[in-house]
Amino acid sequence: MSHSQHTEPKRSHEPIFWGLFGAGGMLTAFLTPVMVLVTGILVPLGLMSPEALSYERIHDFATTWYGAAVLFVLIALPLWHTLHRIYHGLHDIGIHRGRDIQQVVSYGFAFAVSVFVFTLLLQMF
């Protein structure tokens, strides 16, 4: 067997997804609890004024470039974390067939929802 001195290592795409997983995990750890608290509990129960989530306020925010960026990151980034976990979780619960298709579907789902939100924010701009 001959060993070439210039063999290029095969690059993995894992670091990209791992990076998004880490960033999404960080964001989820720090901000998801307070987001759920506000949108899912405090405002619906009337413990916080509905003014906090009024159409004018949220629409004005979503149509600024920084507001759109904040909303995009807050909604889309956690998905790159959770779908990474769900993809690896499929292995844990014994679903081994079609791993590459599972990967395409998992990250594809995160990508599709990201595009959905991005497009809507762009359209409102």
Binding site: G40, I58, I86, V113
Partner: protein
Amino acid sequence: MSKRKPYERELPTDWWLKHAFYTKYMIREGSSILITLYSLILAWGVFRLSQGPEAWQAWLDCLTHPLSILLHLAVLVLALYHTITWFSLAPKAADLWIKGKKLEDKPIVIGHYVALAITTIVALIIVAAY
């Protein structure tokens, strides 16, 4: 068709229920499902926002349904569980060395909880400042 018959070790589907360590692991991983659902609810909110004031109000009204409140309480509990596990892993990820000595785990974990408290309070102030 391959005639090869590789040996596959049997794994019962409830393997993660027999050991608290694995159960906690699966709860952590499983929290992803509800957090995904929460992101989808928010993504839907952006869609309704783009449709105008009535659509946005309809989305807000949906969130007041008792089942929605229960769902969000469950999301909150699991999100907090994710936070706790994330912070307890943080020292392993950070691996900080100061003057040739590895920083202890405790200050890193406490630092994360302080940062969580600050971001939560700041977020609540921003949201409440209408």
